[in-house]
């Protein structure tokens, strides 16, 4: 009995460590909730795009969320963390006045930077003068492919065959020439 409890407690600890989230989130597209972080597990419910959820835990490509009375695992990419709602463009039906709009307006690539920015800004970059010394530093710090291969091998990283992802269907009709 006791021998059982220790690994169980250790497991619990791991799960809680990985799941110290409990953050608000918004569902980005209609999707199912599963009983386990796996699409082959039982479906426990579904959530609609725009729904608010609470993120309870995270495991690989899955988030454990609770929405109203339903709790379950949903794909990581079907939810955004944060209280900002759906975000900016491309989600026209609910653009509205989500918090994200404070910085993104309708087209997030067209945002005017707020004055008083302390980090990098346009003007810094525009005014920047070529720094040969720093560039030399950068070049001196580079490593060879062999060194990189060895370093990867030290932690058991190996090349994996993963097919490329498909390009999206032309849902957004606007041409890239008009977005610039």
């Amino acid at each position: 009995m006791k021998t059982f409890l220790i690994p169980a407690a250790a497991l619990m600890l791991c799960v809680t460590a990985a799941s110290a989230w409990a953050a608000p989130g918004t569902v980005l597209r209609n999707d199912k909730l599963y009983s386990q972080p796996s699409a082959s597990s039982r479906v426990t419910g579904s959530v609609a795009k725009g729904a608010s959820v609470n993120i309870l835990a995270k495991q690989g490509g899955w988030l454990r969320v609770t929405s109203d009375k339903t709790t379950g695992w949903i794909r990581l990419l079907s939810v955004r963390a944060g209280a900002g709602g759906l975000g900016g463009a491309g989600l026209g039906d609910v653009v509205g006045d989500v918090v994200g709009a404070a910085t993104t307006k309708s087209d997030p690539s067209r945002v005017v930077t707020v004055a008083g920015l302390r980090g990098l800004n346009d003007e810094d970059l525009k005014q920047a003068k070529f720094n040969a010394d720093e560039l030399e530093r950068l070049e001196a710090l580079s490593v060879t492919a062999t060194q990189a291969r060895n370093y990867a091998g030290q932690s058991g990283l190996a090349a994996v065959n993963v097919p490329g992802l498909p390009e999206p269907k032309p849902a957004q009709a606007s041409s890239p020439w008009e977005n610039n």
């Binding site: 900002g84 975000g87 970059l125 990189a148 990867a152």
Partner: protein, 317 residues
């Protein structure tokens, strides 16, 4: 907007070409149509419209309305020829990237931590080995600013800011960020932007025919300082870099969820955080990036297992 400029450009070149005794017009039109269509996501043609090359009709229409070229207009034939027919050679690409990077480093220096810089180079080069682009020398650097951002320049120059690096939790997240930037280089996103502007630039030179040394030509091409890094890319290029970057990371043995995890973290930041000002000016909002990536990924990466490597992740001081 831009298309109008190009169209105007076509007609300008076409008419001056004729003036110079060339029958450039037709050739240019074909080439530019090709260029325009190359980057365009394929769109289903409207059902009952007669087949017509897009851009051709407006080009012809504009051509009629275009002002006649003034006598002093002279076009740099080499630059124009390149803009229309050429691709950047590896040497040109590297020189462009070097100039942009040197300027960027003029705005923000590297973090003075050689162990950190070496670590990022080791991870980055391993990823780059799976990117399929072996002709460039890859260089990675962490920039000494609390701003949250990452940059890529042609020729294999990749930068992450200290502000972004600090937010990372493991090597897979770093790999996700670097792989996104590597994808910009392998897909030559910045070069495509430069090519478009060099076409305009070549025509702009009609106004001034002063000779330029080659460094000046590169600098002229990229604009002021490193402003090209502040202009950003088309949002479709960012979505593509996300898709390709996730795959590069997975091919390198990392969990594919590193980049999504970083995007989730950024999505959770307050919207008005000053450290993300430039990031959101040049990139779609993380929520949009997650949504777009989700459409492409679906269940395709369900079977991919990879490493996070939190233990050996180099923690910044």
């Amino acid at each position: 907007m831009k298309i109008k400029l190009i169209v105007l450009a076509i007609s300008l070149v076409a008419s001056s070409g004729v003036a110079a005794g060339f029958d450039f017009g037709k050739l240019l039109e074909e080439r530019i149509n090709k260029e325009l269509n190359k980057d365009k996501p394929t769109q289903p043609a409207p059902a009952q419209q007669p087949a017509q090359t897009p851009g051709q009709a407006p080009a012809a229409a504009q051509s009629a309305a275009a002002p006649p070229p003034s006598a002093k207009q002279k076009i740099d034939a080499r630059q124009l020829g390149f803009a229309l027919f050429g691709d950047y050679s590896l040497e040109e690409e590297t020189r462009i990237g070097r100039q942009i990077s040197g300027n960027l480093l003029g705005a923000v220096p590297l973090v003075r931590d050689d162990k950190l810089q070496r670590y990022v180079n080791l991870v980055g080069n391993w990823l780059a080995l799976q990117s399929g682009r072996k002709d460039v020398t890859w260089r990675f650097g962490v920039l000494d600013t609390e701003d949250i951002n990452a940059f890529a320049a042609p020729g294999g120059y990749i930068f992450v800011t200290k502000g972004l690096y600090r937010r990372l939790n493991n090597e897979a997240e770093l790999a996700g960020v670097l792989a996104h930037e590597i994808a910009h280089v392998t897909k030559k996103h910045h070069l495509k932007v430069l090519k478009q502007s060099s076409l305009i630039g070549a025509l702009g030179q009609a106004a001034s025919s002063k000779a330029k040394d080659s460094d000046q030509v590169v600098q002229n091409l990229i604009g002021n300082g490193a402003e090209i890094m502040a202009r950003g890319l088309d949002k479709n290029a960012e979505f593509e870099a996300d898709r390709v970057g996730v795959v590069f990371a997975a091919r390198s043995g990392y969990t594919p969820w590193g980049l999504p995890d970083v995007l989730q973290d950024l999505a959770g930041l307050p919207a008005k955080d000053s450290r993300t000002g430039l990031l959101y000016k040049t990139h779609p909002h993380p929520a949009d990036r997650l949504a777009a990536l989700g459409e492409a990924v679906g269940g395709r990466l369900d079977a991919v297992r990879g490493k996070e490597l939190a233990d050996r992740f180099y923690r910044i001081r």
